[in-house]
C-alpha cells in the first residue's frame, strides 16, 4: 500500500510546528517525524481520552511514542493540545529546555521516556495489564517505527500481549519503509508484516497513514478482534510534506539545521498550501 492522501491545512500547520522546533534546536529527526504526523494527530485530536490540564488523570488513555526519535511530532501535538506552552518548541534541544531530542516524562503528556528502540510495547503491556487489574477503562496505544520492530524485545512483548488477551492495547507501526541506513526491505525485510502480527495473535489492519479519515475510522474500531490486542500498520512516507525529503534516508536526522534549510522547509510547506 502507498499513501495517496493529500495533506490538509492542519497537517501542514503541524509540520510548520515541527519546523519551528527544528529551527529552535537546529537539529532533529526530520523524516521520522514527518511520516508520523497524521498518526499522532488523529490519536491526540480524535482518539485519546486526555485532560491536558490534568496530565496524570487516572482514567486517561495512555499513549507511548516508542519510536522516540519522532518526538517533534509528539511535541507539536502536545503543545497544540495545551500540555505546555508552544513556545517550548522553539527551545527544544537547547540547554535548560523542557523538550529534548527524545521524549521524557518530565514533559507533561509524555507517558514514558523513550529513545532507545523496542521498549514501548512491553511498557504498554504493563500499562494495559494494570488498567485491567485496576478496573479502569483506559486504553493503551503504542506507536512504533518499522526499523524499531527489528528489536527482539518487541516480539517478546507481542507474545505477552497476546497471551494476556490485551484487547485494550493497540500498537501502531509507522511503516515508512525506510530505516536509518536505507530501505527496510534491504536492511532487514519485515514482510509479510501483517501476517507476522496475525501469527502473534493480534487483530491486524492496514491503513494509509496520511489519510486522517481512514486513521480515525481504523483507530475508532479497536479492538480489531475481540479479546486480542490490535496492530495497525500505517503505510506512510518518510519525510512526508517536504518534497525533497520524501523517501530520502538522508533526511532521517539532521544534526545541523541552519537558516537556509529552515527557509527551504518553510518554502516546501508553503508550496503545499498553495498546491
Amino acid at each position: 500500500m502507498t499513501s495517496t492522501a493529500e495533506l490538509d491545512g492542519r497537517s501542514i500547520a503541524l509540520r510548520g510546528r515541527i519546523v519551528d522546533a527544528l529551527e529552535g534546536g537546529r537539529r532533529g529527526h526530520v523524516g521520522a517525524s514527518l511520516s508520523l504526523v497524521e498518526i499522532i494527530r488523529v490519536l491526540y485530536d480524535d482518539v485519546l481520552q486526555l485532560r491536558p490540564q490534568e496530565p496524570r488523570w487516572r482514567d486517561r488513555d495512555r499513549c507511548i511514542l516508542s519510536k522516540g526519535h519522532g518526538c517533534l511530532t509528539l511535541y507539536a501535538l502536545l503543545a497544540e493540545r495545551g500540555f505546555f506552552d508552544p513556545d517550548e518548541l522553539l527551545r527544544q534541544c537547547t540547554p535548560g529546555a523542557l523538550l529534548g531530542g527524545h521524549p521524557d516524562t518530565r514533559v507533561p503528556g509524555v507517558e514514558a521516556s523513550t529513545g532507545a528502540l523496542g521498549h514501548g510495547l512491553a511498557i504498554g503491556v504493563g500499562l494495559a495489564l494494570a488498567a485491567r487489574m485496576q478496573g479502569r477503562s483506559s486504553r493503551t496505544f503504542v506507536v512504533m517505527g518499522d526499523g524499531e520492530i527489528n528489536e527482539g524485545s518487541v516480539w517478546e512483548a507481542a507474545l505477552s500481549a497476546s497471551k494476556h488477551g490485551l484487547a485494550s492495547l493497540t500498537a501502531i507501526i509507522d511503516y515508512n519503509k525506510l530505516q536509518s541506513y536505507g530501505k527496510v526491505s534491504e536492511v532487514l525485510p519485515l514482510e509479510p508484516l501483517a501476517d507476522k502480527w496475525r501469527a502473534f495473535g493480534f487483530g491486524v489492519r492496514e491503513v494509509d497513514g496520511h489519510d486522517v479519515v481512514a486513521l480515525r475510522q481504523a483507530l475508532g474500531a479497536v479492538p480489531f478482534a475481540a479479546g486480542r490486542p490490535s496492530l495497525l500498520i500505517a503505510h506512510t512516507v518518510k519525510g512526508r510534506g517536504i518534497a525533497a525529503a520524501e523517501g530520502d534516508p538522508a533526511w532521517h536526522h539532521k544534526a545541523s539545521v541552519d537558516a537556509k534549510l529552515v527557509a527551504q522547509l518553510r518554502a516546501a510547506l508553503a508550496e503545499r498550501v498553495h498546491a
Binding site: 521524557d104 516524562t105 507517558e111 514514558a112 521516556s113 523513550t114 529513545g115 532507545a116 523496542g118 521498549h119 510495547l121 512491553a122 511498557i123 504498554g124 503491556v125 504493563g126 500499562l127 494495559a128 495489564l129 494494570a130 488498567a131 487489574m133 485496576q134 527482539g152 524485545s153 517478546e156 512483548a157 507474545l159 505477552s160 497471551k163
Partner: protein, 315 residues
C-alpha cells in the same frame, strides 16, 4: 535463602495489594500458593527478560511494586538496557530478586555465573544493590524492600548458608554492620563472603593477627561512613566479594577511599578478569580464586608483609 526470598514475596503480597510477582519460566510450582490465591498478581512469563522488565516498568508506573525473579545473569546482562531505560530512568519501584548470584552456578559455566552483577547495576542511577549473607538477613532485606525508594536488586546466594547475621544488631538497607571490631586488619565483605571473612579472621587470630569484619550487605549505596570509620586505624583493608575484582564492592570501597584522600593499603579480593571454565563446585572455584578462608588469610599475611616493608625506618 532463596526459599526465604521467594516466600517473602507472597507474604508481602498478602499484606500489600501493590505487590505483584513476575517470573521468567521458573521451575514448576514456584509460588504456587500465591498463584492460586491471587492469580491476578502472579505472572509467569516466558524466557523474555527484556519484555518482563518493560512490563514490570509499566505496572510500576501504575502504582504496583513488581518483584521479578530469575537467574541473576539473565536479570542483569540480558535486559540491561531495559533496566536503565524502563526502570531507572523512570525511577520505578521494581524489585529484582536474582537467583544464583556469584559463583553458585559454577558447574554450569560462565554463562550462568553472576560475577559482574554488582558492577553492572552499580552504574545505574538510583539502583539499590543488596547481597544478604544468610537467610535471616534475606528476610530482613525482603521485609525492608517494599519501602525502598526506586529500583532494588537483591542477590540470592546458594542457600543453606551459615547464619552469621545478628538480630541484636540494627539492620537497615544502606547501613553496613560492624560484626567484629577492627584490629590491624579490616575485612569488608558482602553477601556470603562475609562468612568467609569471619572464618579467615579466626585463622589470622591463630597467627596473632587481629582482623575486624564489616558486613556491607548493601553494595550501593555503600555505607562509606561506617567503612571509613572502621578503617581509620587499621594497617590494611581487605574487601571480599564473590564477584570480579573489577567494578564491585572492592572498586566501590577504593573509590570512596580515593574520594576521601584515604591512603590505607587496600586489597581487593575477588575473581580475576577472566571467564571461568572450571566446572567445579562453588566452593571449588572460590578456593581456586583464593576466596576461601585459608586463601583470604594467606592474602592478608602476604599483604601485611608488604605493608611492613613499606613502613619508613623509624616510623
Amino acid at each position: 535463602m532463596r526459599k526465604v526470598a521467594i516466600n517473602s514475596i507472597y507474604e508481602l503480597a498478602k499484606r500489600d495489594p501493590r505487590v505483584v510477582f513476575i517470573g521468567s519460566d521458573l521451575g514448576a510450582g514456584v509460588l504456587e500458593a500465591m498463584r492460586c490465591e491471587m492469580p491476578d498478581r502472579f505472572f509467569m512469563e516466558g524466557v523474555t527478560e527484556q519484555a518482563i522488565i518493560g512490563i514490570a516498568a509499566g505496572l510500576a508506573m501504575e502504582g504496583y511494586v513488581p518483584y521479578i525473579n530469575t537467574i541473576a545473569t539473565f536479570l542483569t546482562r540480558r535486559c540491561f538496557e531495559q533496566l536503565a531505560v524502563d526502570v531507572c530512568m523512570h525511577h520505578l519501584p521494581v524489585r529484582l530478586i536474582a537467583s544464583g548470584g556469584g559463583a553458585v552456578y559454577a558447574p554450569l559455566g560462565p554463562t550462568h555465573m553472576a560475577l559482574d552483577d554488582f558492577a553492572l547495576l552499580r552504574t545505574l542511577p538510583g539502583m539499590t544493590v543488596v547481597a544478604p549473607c544468610d537467610a535471616p538477613e534475606m528476610a530482613r532485606t525482603m521485609d525492608a524492600s517494599l519501602d525502598v525508594d526506586g529500583p532494588l536488586y537483591v542477590r540470592i546466594a546458594k542457600g543453606g548458608d551459615p547464619v552469621i547475621s545478628r538480630a541484636d544488631l540494627p539492620f537497615a538497607l544502606g547501613r553496613a554492620v560492624v560484626l567484629e571490631a577492627p584490629g590491624e586488619v579490616l575485612f569488608v565483605g558482602t553477601g556470603v563472603m562475609t562468612t568467609r571473612a569471619l572464618d579467615a579472621r579466626a585463622l589470622l587470630a591463630e597467627r596473632g593477627v587481629r582482623a575486624g569484619v564489616v558486613h556491607a550487605h548493601t553494595v550501593k549505596p555503600l555505607d562509606v561512613e561506617t567503612i571509613a570509620a572502621a578503617a581509620a586505624r587499621v594497617q590494611l583493608v581487605v574487601t571480599v566479594e564473590e564477584h570480579f575484582r573489577n567494578g564491585g564492592l572492592g572498586t566501590a570501597v577504593a573509590e570512596s577511599f580515593a574520594d576521601r584522600g584515604m591512603t590505607t593499603p587496600l586489597v581487593r579480593c575477588g575473581f580475576s578478569d577472566a571467564y571461568s571454565y572450571d566446572f567445579g563446585s562453588q566452593e571449588h572455584v572460590l578456593e581456586v580464586a583464593g576466596l576461601d578462608p585459608a586463601g583470604l588469610a594467606a592474602t592478608v599475611m602476604a599483604a601485611l608483609s608488604t605493608c611492613a616493608q613499606a613502613v619508613p625506618v623509624g616510623a
